[in-house]
Symmetry: D2
Subunit: 340 residues, 4 copies
Amino acid sequence: MIIVMKKGATKEDVHSVEERIREWGYSAHTIYGAERTVVGAVGVPEADKARYMESLEAMPCVEKVIAILRPYKFASREYHPEGTVVDVNGIPVGGKQVVIMAGPCTVETYEQTWESAVACHAAGATILRGGAYKPSTSPYSFQGHGEEGLKILRDVADKLGMRVVTEVMDPRNVELVCRYADILQIGTRNMQNYDLLREVGRVRTPVLLKRGMWARIEEWMQAAEYILVGGNPNVILCERGIRTFETHTRNTLDLSAVPAVKELSHLPIIVDPSQGTGKRSLVEAMSKAAIAAGADGLLIEVHPHPDQALKDGAQSLTCEGFCNLMRNLRPVVEAVGRTL
Amino acid sequence: MIIVMKKGATKEDVHSVEERIREWGYSAHTIYGAERTVVGAVGVPEADKARYMESLEAMPCVEKVIAILRPYKFASREYHPEGTVVDVNGIPVGGKQVVIMAGPCTVETYEQTWESAVACHAAGATILRGGAYKPSTSPYSFQGHGEEGLKILRDVADKLGMRVVTEVMDPRNVELVCRYADILQIGTRNMQNYDLLREVGRVRTPVLLKRGMWARIEEWMQAAEYILVGGNPNVILCERGIRTFETHTRNTLDLSAVPAVKELSHLPIIVDPSQGTGKRSLVEAMSKAAIAAGADGLLIEVHPHPDQALKDGAQSLTCEGFCNLMRNLRPVVEAVGRTL
Amino acid sequence: MIIVMKKGATKEDVHSVEERIREWGYSAHTIYGAERTVVGAVGVPEADKARYMESLEAMPCVEKVIAILRPYKFASREYHPEGTVVDVNGIPVGGKQVVIMAGPCTVETYEQTWESAVACHAAGATILRGGAYKPSTSPYSFQGHGEEGLKILRDVADKLGMRVVTEVMDPRNVELVCRYADILQIGTRNMQNYDLLREVGRVRTPVLLKRGMWARIEEWMQAAEYILVGGNPNVILCERGIRTFETHTRNTLDLSAVPAVKELSHLPIIVDPSQGTGKRSLVEAMSKAAIAAGADGLLIEVHPHPDQALKDGAQSLTCEGFCNLMRNLRPVVEAVGRTL
Amino acid sequence: MIIVMKKGATKEDVHSVEERIREWGYSAHTIYGAERTVVGAVGVPEADKARYMESLEAMPCVEKVIAILRPYKFASREYHPEGTVVDVNGIPVGGKQVVIMAGPCTVETYEQTWESAVACHAAGATILRGGAYKPSTSPYSFQGHGEEGLKILRDVADKLGMRVVTEVMDPRNVELVCRYADILQIGTRNMQNYDLLREVGRVRTPVLLKRGMWARIEEWMQAAEYILVGGNPNVILCERGIRTFETHTRNTLDLSAVPAVKELSHLPIIVDPSQGTGKRSLVEAMSKAAIAAGADGLLIEVHPHPDQALKDGAQSLTCEGFCNLMRNLRPVVEAVGRTL
């Protein structure tokens, strides 16, 4: 940590900062500049830094406190230089093979789920997505079928030999969803729902942690840290677009987060171009771009009849559209030295 | 709803849209323009609109669907033209009197809470704030004392004749927090935590709904709608800053949301200048500005010794600073025809 | 400047940084931490910092370079602790008196300008605003009357004893606009039009520098620095809203910029609630809030018949509306110890 | 245009809107809904729409006016369904071949430009980039060598058989820069510098129009419209990142703008991953992603010795890094059916 003193700070002010650092058991090194004095605090561990920074920042003689190291540990590549491969009941996420998770936004009926899943599976998807608990901006939108939806997903996936990824929103449902799902999805709105993060940190089921639409990469890493600290090492990150001033697309898909996360962290990262753009016609281009940027997989919404979908039809591919996407994706996957 | 057809849409396409609208039981009126045809759907109630819009938007012949009315009902001023006054166990929020909620960011000890509360009370605050459950970006930051903290808050408030506002983060804790608090605070990160919104919709304790740092005003109103639809009419809104590209302040306090919400909704709205700016030195100016903009109250962090605070010391006022703020605030309160 | 070395940087790497700093004539102080080494560069003047930071940042062994001081000098309050009062041909901006600049968005006709100006003047405005050169998002919108508009403004203002503020967009027009205007307005889109900034830095006519809708406060100060360095000390800042994800308002008026700028800089700052909100119904509330926050003045659009305006009618007040605003503003002005 | 009347608007109000539309010579079609009345205006040409919308929006009985068609014409794909190929003195931009523009951020010396150009040319770049007039946030940063820089660029490019792209900032310099450059670059800060857009609309030299860091895609298209309306059909768009809350990268590269622009417009679009990320280590991944998303080319900063660069060294590739990028890019280019 670097503590920048206010202009006009006295020697006593500087000593009060140095002393506080030493009281905590760390060493302090001061540089007296022409206009500002800065104090470096050496030896403070990650786990204590946030607290100490706040404390120093509140001293009237301090202008600001600057963190030198990342405020997370277990999620960082420094802690774990090798890339992590998460095992989803036999399907590796984060390895050479690009993983495709596809299916309907929401489980509406058995038939719709089955029809979508068969098409996705035939085209090469190995993990079936589908919402049983749906976060909806409006209380009047469809909220999902709950456990009934989970049963449909599990049954359809098992018949096709697929795995299941589905969202859990309520900490009280983590145990229930674990019974049906191979991956627990934490949605964008819940990226900083700490009680939920703590709850999924207690199980060993892999967690797909979507980026909060307002979250800086650093905060996303800290959300992952909550799960890792809790004891669950199986975290997969998912870039799904951030909120910006642009209104043509539903969100702004931040693909530079893919190589950035690869530098900062050892965790696998996939991309959701359906949520990321909100427009069916942009999904294929952004799927190719995501893989070219280094993503370990994709999460794509596919509906047999998008115009009859209860949610997100405008961004869902048809089964045929998904099939085309997969065909056109393959050369890009191979161009970056991976397999599909 | 206005449905804009794609360029080149055929008569059959237009009919397919009209028919779908009529099947749902509403009437369709089509305007054939030179370059685009638009269909107006008349009679669709709020409760069905979100669903129908998504469905129409997914039709391949449709370019976009535009909502004409607000996507919320009970939160709207059209539904309830008079401003709502929420009764917080005898203290009205939303009336002529401006309400000041103040206290420490976090309940650390009995002494610290007491010292802060006494000063706040003496200066004119009637509602004591303080966190027992704290949402923290880092898993290594202080997470709050839980029920112990609630007991301290209640005890201190009772001794001083104050009310208590405190955050609830986990749907499992709503009942517990209701036992101690006069107002349940929903924090910014939980504005779209729908299970939590549903849970606080089931009780009658007033709810302070903070704006999500990523939330458009319309989405904030829809979050309030969740609580109102659930049956709890006692919702107080709180503007606390949104996330923008500006880094000098912690958030960008959007004061224009105050008069905007007053037009759109009947619910009372207060402002949090502590979180909104993240800087102690800006709190007084923004408090005055909030009241001048028409806010019904303020939520302010006060700590007897900010540099020893476990959280948010840099944005906490000292007891003396709060006292000065209250003194300087009074003329502004009176200038806009209200009382303190 | 603080230079943070990459993890694993060698002693040689550190020396290469230290040497470079010393070659430039400054001193280097290194702190060896447990995980990172940081080098402090002492004595680098503002005028050289930007350049040196970029150079150090590009070294492969350097992780990042952190500036300790603000990257501007003449605009800073440290350089000039007293607040600056800009003299606009006898009207002080930045003193105890709040200054109201009002008038039509655009000069359309002599009659419209006259009608608007008479009403503004009667209600207490002392500076007449009006666009002769209009920046328009669409090439098909009205672009202003140019010099004809300037003549109308000057003539109307002179008859009423008012001053004139009007926008200059093209460096080739600075001299021309100076002949008619008392204040040169630099619009939001031109805040980083450096050739224009340099040109208005060469004259002594006061400059109203609007904040770029994308600009951090620090970048705004650097734009002011361009003008000050050029030799024109008469800079007035104007907060006019920044671009965020919120679409209910045209921009998000960042009133916290007012007290923030007052801390960072000695320059006067006014607020434009018309552009800032884009909605007539929000202008009065935000005018009061701006003054309560400490603004030195307001810039307000007033049109005798907004529904016949060629531009920005929706955010223009009627003459009557402006009159009401001024009446309701007075108590707030007095509440913060200023005069109107 | 769809005009939404305010709740409670009377028949007279509706007639006043209809009449105004008819006075302008267009037809009006009204739909009376249960809670709102909407009026459709049919036949309004693009060139008049912006003006009429503003006028209607300012009527007190009108809630809002919604545009149905895009507010630009010559830039739209509807106007020109075939993709445009811009001829840069023999090099087609927008065709099957991906075009690489590379070189130093700034022309510093002849040697540095030559060294960079030779490496870029050898690796496959055909257009040499380099700044002679540099927009710099700080007045103390290097501002470019002006005409001297242009001469160096021209000479180096001619010797290697390359074309030249370089920025013009001042309308007074357009003619001068045209004498040396094959493409005139309009930088991000100048996307809405209308006098400059008008000036480059008067020549026939191709224009590289960078997206404003604050600009919605629609506004970017309108900026292109200024140039096209002016008479210059040779516009190439360049996505270079937008400003968001994310601070890890310098900008947020919005790659979804690439397929979005391809749908909306016939103009070619390239991507600048150097400015877009601000980090050398992310440039290669984002270059691949840009091509996979459908971009027609790339603009990349290459410096023989980035740590001695006067500007933007941290985001410049070394000559070797650029050579690697080009090698790794080729398979991706081919995977999407294009050539390098």
